[in-house]
Amino acid sequence: MKRTVFILYGLILLGLSFFSYAFIDPNLIYYKNIYSGFAFQNKTLVTILYLCFIALLFVSYLFIIKSVNRKRFNSKDVRFLIGITCVGLFFSYPAMLSYDIFNYLTTAKVLFFHHENPYLIMPIEFLGDPFLLFTHAANKLALYGPVWILFSGVPHFLGAGNFIVTLMSFKLVALIFYVLTVLLIWKLAKNLYVVSLFAFNPLIILESLLSSHNDIIMVFLVLLSFFLMQNKKYLLALLIFGASILIKYATLILLPIFIFMLWKNYKGKDINWKNIYYFSFLSMLIIFLLSPLREEMYPWYAVWFLPFIFLIPEKKNILYLSIAFSFGLLLRYAPFMYSGTHFGITPLLKIVLASLPVVIVGFSILSSRPKWRNLLQLGWRKIPRLRSE
């Protein structure tokens, strides 16, 4: 049984990795030999296939976390499944769902190859640079924090000037931080179920291992600072927390929580870590929900708040709603995949698809509570009475 599950899970991931190559950008000259244009010519089929993969990944996710919770899978099985997840998605095409990885590469090139300040000089100013053909934010100054920009030098130099090697180096960095975050969650929770909630969540794995977003690094650093606080290494915790802020700025919202922890330590009082995780979840969720004010509610921003709720699985309703939301956020990609445009009905469909699973799960949670069930039934009963009057 286990073996079949492992094989099926591995096949789903490999299938998704293979499928991701249907999305190769026509301007990506380095991949021209394997460019098919399939995703752009068969939009309906591709959207259906994508939805099937997402559904399969969520079914696998629910099955794995249930198996871990019921002790059917032990730590060795979980480690093996994490290995399958990493290998299965490492060779995928990273710009299937987002072009951000190209921005990382291009920004690193501005600093480490052209020796220019990416906060002042836009990639588009390097006329004739082949990266401009496929970089979608070439007309923007660096969007990320200095720690990320400096750190992106590691994969940039690992690539040694070869585009594909550089691209894979960026993927490797994301993979390493995904594994490190999994290990850290194990250290923080000492609970296999918590680890599984994070390690196999389709949104986490797609945004970290397929799209290779740097959000996983920011989250790793903030969790590491919490871990260091637990081990009374305050100065180091402060430095790491600062580094996390300077990856993508979002964790700045956790500053009051961090100050509260330092104050508690100063007073010699114990910290209720469950509350810390809960308020961190709420803070990161708020900043996530405010993200449309800046640009758009991008699915990978969910990596900011999901790890915190996974650390407190006791809050079942919020956990279920968060998992449903992560499913809905991955559905947000479908309207664009189908229509090929960000305009028209696409924005509305994105909102509907992202919120639909949350509404369904929310409704089922409410209907399972006797108080709410009675209220809902009362509501239904009132209508015929009014009519009869």
């Binding site: 052209h114 220019e116 002042l120 000089i121 004739g128």
Partner: protein, 197 residues
């Protein structure tokens, strides 16, 4: 004199009147006011002026920014920004007849402006396509020349600046502005006809 001849005379008179009218129109178009070749390049607003506390802070900021604007394109942006800033400062000070300060500001603008081709040459050596930056510098030169030419006609040729309890300074304003224009014209022609590396 026949009728046909009379009609011919009237027609030729009309033709002559029309010609005269066109000549007058042409002469009116060449009215005495001077017309400059206007550049679309936009100069910044004047920032704080010498004597203000903010001016000292701006000088510190200017020094620090030099390190932030690293790289050939970075330095190009930095020097162009400073050249523009000091030109606007000089213009404002000239208009307020603060000739000594204006003269110094123009000197700084010249200094920054003269450095610009160096960074573009370096960028070219790195095999970068600098055509857009060359056009930018050409536009900036035109704008600077436009401002300096308009300043030149309103300023005295020389001015004896005599501060209290200090020795007087003879400012050769016309020569200074002409020199600034020459610097920019030289750079503009280099941008038009290319670098000789």
């Amino acid at each position: 004199m026949g009728m046909a001849q009379k009609e011919f005379r009237v027609e030729s008179l009309e033709l002559r009147m029309r010609k005269i009218f066109l000549v007058i129109l042409f002469l009116l178009a060449l009215s005495p006011h001077q017309v400059f070749a206007e550049s679309s390049y936009v100069l910044p607003y004047p920032s704080s002026m010498p004597g203000s506390v903010w001016y000292t802070l701006h000088l510190v900021q200017e020094r620090l920014e030099k390190f932030w604007y690293f790289g050939n394109y970075g330095q190009f942006s930095y020097n162009l920004k400073q050249a523009d800033k000091y030109l606007v400062e000089a213009k404002t000070l000239f208009e307020y007849k603060q000739y000594l300060l204006a003269d110094r500001a123009l000197g700084k603008s010249d200094e920054y402006f003269q450095r610009l081709p160096y960074y573009l040459e370096n960028a070219k050596k790195e095999n970068r396509d600098i055509s857009a930056k060359m056009q930018l510098l050409k536009d900036a030169s035109s704008k600077h020349i436009e401002i300096l030419t308009s300043l030149k006609k309103d300023l005295p040729d020389t001015f004896n600046w005599k501060p209290e309890r200090k020795s007087a300074t003879e400012l050769n304003l016309k020569e200074k502005i002409e020199n600034s224009i020459k610097i920019r014209e030289r750079i503009k022609s280099r941008m038009t006809y290319g670098f000789e590396l």
